[in-house]
Amino acid sequence: MDRQPPTALLSPQEWEQLLDDFASSSNPSRRDRWLHLPLLDLAVSSLLRRDLPSHLKPLLLSLVDDHLPPPLPSSLPALLASLLSFPPDHPLRDHLLVTVVSAFASALAAPISRDHEAPHLAALVDALLAAANRPNHAPDRAARALACDALRALDAALPGLLAEALGHLYALAAAERSPAAQSYLLLLASAARHAVRLGRLASGASILAVAGPPTPFAVPAHLLSPLAAPGASVAPPSEVNVRDTRKVLALLMDRPQVLTPAAAMEMMAILAEVASAVLQWAPAIAAHIKVQFGGMVHSSSPMLLHSLLTLFVQFPDAFGAEDERTMAHRLALAAREVHRPLAVRLLALHWLLGSGKFRNLVPGLARWFYPAVFDPLALKAKKLDCLAYVAAGVDGEKVAAADRASDQATRLLDDGLVCVSAFRWLPAWSTETGVAFRALHSVLVGAAPHSTDGTSCSGARELLNSTIFHHLQAILVDMASEHQGLVPVIADFTNRLLACNSHRWAGERLLRTLDECLLPRLEPGYQLASYYPIFEKIAQNETVPQHHLIELLTKQMVSLTKKHGPDTELKSWSQGSKVVGICRVMLKHHHSSHIFLPLSHLLVLTIESFPDLEVRDHARICLRMLSCVPGKKLRHIMGVGEQPSGVTPSHPGSLYDIPSPRAAQDLKSMPDLASYIHLERVVPLIVKQSWALTLPNFSVQSRPSGSILSIQDVSSAPSEQENPTGPTIERIGYRQETLRVMDSKVTITFSSSAHFGKIPSCHIPFILGEPPGSGMDIVPIDNQNREESSYCASVTIELEPQEPSPGLIDVSVEANTENCQVLSGSLKPITVGIEDMFLKASVPPDTPREGVAMYYQDLFHALWEACDSSTNTGRETFPLSGGKGSAVIDGTRSVKLLEVTPKVLIGAVERYLASFVVSVSGGSLVTILRGNGVIKNVMWEENVPDASVGADALVPYSPDNNLQLHLIDDEDIGVGAERYGHESKREMGTMRVMIFLPPRYHLLFLLEVGRASTLVRIRTDHWPCLAYVDEYLEALIS
């Protein structure tokens, strides 16, 4: 042999390691490192090594058998050589033989290479045939048997390999008397089968003819040919081969009792095939088969029983009706034999139901299918299948004695269910319950099986009218009314039918029955909640009228309302929510016209009297939808977008979850709430960019340090929208993913780090204000979509500033989502500017209307003086009315030059400051402003610009300024402009502006309006505001 010895032998330790790596389940990659070695060669060549421990050697062969990939044909010669040179009495020889033969069988396939493969195969078969060819040699009978088995394995892998040696095999099998005879017989049978499959029977030559001695063996030609092996011939068998086949069969069937059950199973399978091939020409074989194998009906071996069953099917003429009855009876009884393994008892029942031949006999065996109390539940379940089959069949026979038959059917069902009747009080998930409901289902589909195409089912009409179906419904109704714990199981049962295309009608009928028979039995109260799963199913189904259910739910709401007390808040809320939830389901699945009246009554009742606010809210939404949205659209609306992004339901798809009470949702889970709800100011701020100055403990009294703690940006992004006149504060549009809110309102809360006092939260009743058809969907808005948003509401925020400064107001929103979770999140903050602090000074109540302007002017002058820091150290004390103390004013003054034309300035003042103007002086200015008519009820002083005003200017005029007068030719100044077109004075006049800054400060402007610029003199008793005022004035004219 040209076999290369392995380059390196593995040590015992390496083998141990290798085997361990191959056995490792946890880390399959460990074996990879060995795969480069010629493991097959190494393993086989190591078998005879003396340095390897003996326990390791069988493992090496197992490695080849079980873990290495199928060997390639090229490795076969080496394997064969190992086998042939192996000591015959070595304990591992059998194992090696098995390994080598398995390798040959799995590596070779027809066509076999004539030069490379066939010689080795022939050598192997030679060796095996030689071993087998010593009949009745006593001591090596086990080895001879194994050789036969090996030949059979090769024959199975290479069909027809031994077809030409059939005569020899026949002789060997006939001669052998030792227990090894079994192997010889099986080998003969197997070879004969392949001869039949190859179509040899049609040949004129006898299949038993032999050309010479069994060895040397030659691989038959058909395995060497590249053409596919011929299929079974349709040609009839030749006479000689009918005879010879009968001869072979006679030997094989001679004494089947000498076979073990396992071998008998194999033998009977082959026999059946071979006998079938000649049965037409030798019909007596069938009778022979019955005689030889019929006795196995009493065997306790399941293998023999099952093999006999297959003979019943393959040789129907051999076994008569009586035999079939005996067999069926045996099978029914086999399931009762407690010594048999459970699986076998189950199989026996399957065999009964698995063939039409025996299935027809099942009804006559009904009494044997009664489950016994100690039968395992699996067996009870299968016996109940049989009883269900009988019951369905009995009931289906619409014969004269129909009543009696129906009685029998229902009695069978009742009797059968007794063994799992414990389910009536056991928990719903008990195995007994599962088995019982499985049986109920079995009855149903037994009576009305699915059709082959799965779309319809036969016997639907019959079943609906059948006693058994009525009885089944009665069982379920009773069960539901007496055992609330089973309601979910009944709901599941119904659902199973509803989900089936073929049995939907049965589920619907069942629901109607529950509606008609169960609902009247139920009383309102807390325990009614157990039935909600069924109610939900009823509400979902269009074919079930809803009035019973609505009536019951109405009673339930009344009952819940009555029982409500301090201890039952949670219960009322939970149960009420569920009831409204069912109403919602109804809305979704029914035409509103059918349910309108009773359902609206129920909802109104809830809205009016139910103790829980949230439930009332929820009911209100439902009522609104019921009354405003057309049914079709409503169902559509309710069907889409069940969940908004970012809202995680606690349990999807169920209405009946109890949410953790009022637990606010994590803000992180709703990061983009701001994209759904948008707040905008009605009047945009003039100051686009601002900042806030925060002072610690600022007060007039403790002012000294005045250190600045922080300066922060107030508004980061200007609101750039272009329709400032729109009333929009909140815009809600529809698009993309929808946010579904179940409340009738959204609650908005405000908070701020600025000193604005407590800002009350407010509710936006957005749903109720919504026009019909819009639903409750809220979708993110973007700029393109804004115009489409059809919903907005105004929110007014009242501040109580403790000091007049800009600031940010944080806004958060809370709402209830569909599944009663509380949804909350932040919106974009609202920017508050200094201008929001501008208020008109209040007028004493006794001031006559015509004296208001004068009062303001006087007040202006008084404050102007008081805030002059040059007088009296800038501090004046005013006694308060009523003599309860005095107000102290610490004045500050400043000045600002606005380099704009009067046209711009006047426009800005008229637009933003008109209500704060106290007086206007100077002829041209008076003329213009009066003509414009925006500023009213002020003191007009047409002449005498107050000289004193300009005298104390801190910064009179900028030297860079061109102080030359310009002609005013801007027509836009207004009506009065023309009249001043020739005005030569540099000054056009002055305006006095007085602003009250809450809580108790003032801001005074004296605007000296010039042709090219305007000087603003500022005085205030709240110096920090000067910083914002400067910015404000800049923004005013920009």
Partner: protein
């Protein structure tokens, strides 16, 4: 083509930790599997390889282990497997909704490349904590048929429909064969390989095949005979206590002898097709060989009798009966009593003689069903008689099995009452009669009553029985009425035992995590529907029961009922000297041909199986007795 027989592609033995303890693949069978699929693809049925229907290579061990673990994860619950529930989904075995899918499973192997495939039918046996998986060869057609069942979208098939599971199984004897392979492999790994017991009236039980063998060739191999402990006074497997113990064993399984198994497989099914699944025979041949054993001269020696006996000749029969009883002591519920029996035989006869044994009294004993060893040729039973002719194998074997009613008064009758007087205390009363109507030679060897409280811990008990001794364990009270060695014979006795039992207060039970059962899937208790039974005037027992049942676990489908929800007393006893069915053998009527002088011996023994006294005051499981249509 699988051809109707049984060939096995592979055997795996998995541990509870989802590792492969043993595997064996049969390349010859695998070759046929591939050929069958390739042939079908060649037949123009379309290329199914891409759809992941069938693999052309067996998966590696670790893949099988992973697939099996994954299957447990998907449907390894007590209910989830075998019955369709609201958590079953298309593609799971439980979707098929048949309890046999607990034993014939499919394994899904999901390859990383997305080319997943399915292994079916994998025959599964759970033995000694191990999972034995046997994959027989099937043709593509039934494989597809089962695949269709898994995919059906309807509500579950019935026996009347084409392609239902029963018809698939009917046409696959290989599955039945695989069961037998799995069974014997299970026997080997659990060490449950003793031959059936044969009792000799004079002296100890006799041994099995190896004793016959070694005796015949003059070797004294062992001092102790093999004898199966049929009637040990321990709880039977189906008792809740026993079940709990076997569950707790799962964590640490006993290692088994892999060489023994490997050797057995080489002898029993060298190329994957089983030929002899008799453990004793196969291992004897493998270990002993046939050095000096002669061959019969004129007839074939059966394969199941590899050796011939030599020595003093005799033939021994033993009737072993097990009685199951549900005793209610109620007017509305009839007691249930059933005897399952077997006649075991040991024929120490030289050569290959035929033995004929006439059975009489079949009708008197109302024998319902009987089945016989495969060596037996039984005549059709006539009115009261049936003759068995058999060529006996060597060693002990079960000649026949039968089922019969108990044709004599129950050996232990009476009642057991337990009433809870408070949540943690119960009062009980036994009033029993033993062996009433049993005359000599009936002897009751021992009798013990166990009151199991698997979900309560017994703190103490109080009370004295009229006879016998009482002891307690953590979860039970045991009352020994008749002790071993002081058999009760020729008379009946009355035994009463009034007493009280106190339990430790209940704590929330933690279920052993290795117990793969999730019972409450899909159904959550609704606190709204909680009913306060105590307020509603229901009995205290009901109230306690309801409270206890909240943490109940659904039992496996292999159990007959939820034992834990009932109160009962379990009776264990052994009776010798007669049978309860009344079916006996007359040793004098035994004939051996060719005639030899061989004395026939016969002995009888009955032991208790599930012999249950249900608490007369509590709930009890029942079953309807059959009636004629």
């Amino acid at each position: 083509m699988s051809g109707g027989g049984c060939s096995v592609r592979a055997i795996w033995i998995l541990t509870p930790n989802d590792t492969v303890a043993f595997s064996r693949r049969f390349a010859v069978v695998e070759k046929r599997w591939r050929a069958a699929w390739e042939a079908e693809e060649g037949d123009g049925e379309g290329d199914r390889r891409g759809t992941g229907a069938a693999p052309l290579l067996l998966p590696a061990d670790h893949e099988v282990a992973a697939a099996f673990a994954e299957r447990w994860r998907r449907e390894g619950t007590a209910r989830g497997s075998g019955i369709r529930t609201n958590v079953s989904s298309v593609g799971l075995d439980s979707w098929v909704d048949d309890p046999i899918t607990r034993h014939i499973i499919s394994l899904r192997l999901d390859k990383e490349e997305g080319d997943g495939f399915m292994l079916w039918p994998v025959v599964l046996q759970k033995r000694g904590g191990y999972y034995v998986l046997v994959l027989p060869l099937v043709d593509p057609q039934p494989f597809r048929a089962y695949e269709n069942l898994l995919k059906r979208s309807d509500c579950g098939s019935s026996a009347k429909e084409n392609g239902n599971l029963s018809s698939i199984l009917f046409n696959l004897p290989c599955i039945t064969g695989a069961f037998m392979v799995a069974h014997v492999v299970g026997d080997i790994i659990t060490g449950d390989i003793a031959e059936p017991e044969v009792i000799v009236s004079s002296g100890p039980s006799v041994g099995g095949l190896l004793d016959s063998l070694t005796g015949s060739i003059g070797i004294s191999a062992r001092a102790k005979p093999i004898a199966a402990p049929v009637a040990a006074p321990t709880a039977s497997l189906s008792s809740p206590v026993g079940a709990a113990q076997s569950d707790s064993l799962k964590g640490g399984v006993r290692p088994f002898d892999k060489d023994l198994l490997r050797n057995f497989i080489i002898g029993a099914m060298p190329f994957g097709t089983p030929q002899d699944l008799n453990y004793a025979n196969v291992t004897s041949i493998r270990t002993t060989g046939f050095s000096g054993d002669p061959l019969p001269t004129d007839q074939k020696q059966p394969a199941w009798k590899p050796y011939l006996y030599k020595g003093r000749q005799r033939i021994i029969f033993t009737s072993l009966e097990t009685i199951n009883a549900a005793l209610y002591d109620r007017d509305d519920v009839p007691d249930f009593l059933s005897v399952s029996g077997q006649v075991t035989c040991r024929a120490e006869l030289e050569g290959l003689p035929d033995v004929s044994l006439p059975l009489t009294g079949l009708k008197t004993a109302h024998v319902e069903v009987s089945s016989f060893h495969h060596c037996v040729q039984a005549s059709e039973p006539t009115a009261n008689k049936q003759t068995l002719v058999f060529q006996p194998p060597l060693g002990n074997f079960v000649l026949m099995h039968y089922q019969a009613p108990c044709n004599i008064a129950p050996p232990v009758k009476g009642f057991y009452q337990l009433s809870m007087v408070s949540e943690n205390e119960g009062a009980f009363l036994f009033k029993l009669t033993l062996m009433e109507g049993y005359k000599s030679p009936f002897i009751m060897d021992f009798c013990m009553i166990t009151m199991p409280f698997p979900r309560r811990r017994v703190a103490s008990y109080d009370g004295n029985p009229s006879i016998g001794t009482v002891s307690m364990t953590e979860h039970s009270i045991e009352w020994r009425i008749v002790s071993s060695g002081r058999g009760l014979s020729g008379r009946s006795i009355e035994a009463t035992f009034p007493g009280t039992v106190k339990f430790l207060p209940r704590t929330v039970q933690r279920i052993n995590s290795s117990f793969r059962s999730v019972s409450s899937i899909g159904y959550t208790e609704d606190s709204d529907s909680e009913q306060d039974n105590a307020k509603n005037g229901a009995s205290l027992d009901d109230y306690i029961m309801e409270k206890i049942n909240k943490d109940l676990h659904a039992v496996d489908l292999e159990e007959p009922l939820s034992w834990q929800v009932y109160n009962y007393a379990k009776v264990s006893f052994k009776i010798t000297g007669g049978t309860l069915s009344g079916l006996t053998i007359d040793p004098k009527s035994v004939n051996v041909y060719p005639s030899v002088k061989a004395p026939a011996e016969y002995s009888m023994q009955t032991s208790s199986g599930d012999y249950i006294l249900w608490n007369t005051l509590g709930k009890c499981p029942t079953a309807a007795l059959p009636r004629e249509l």
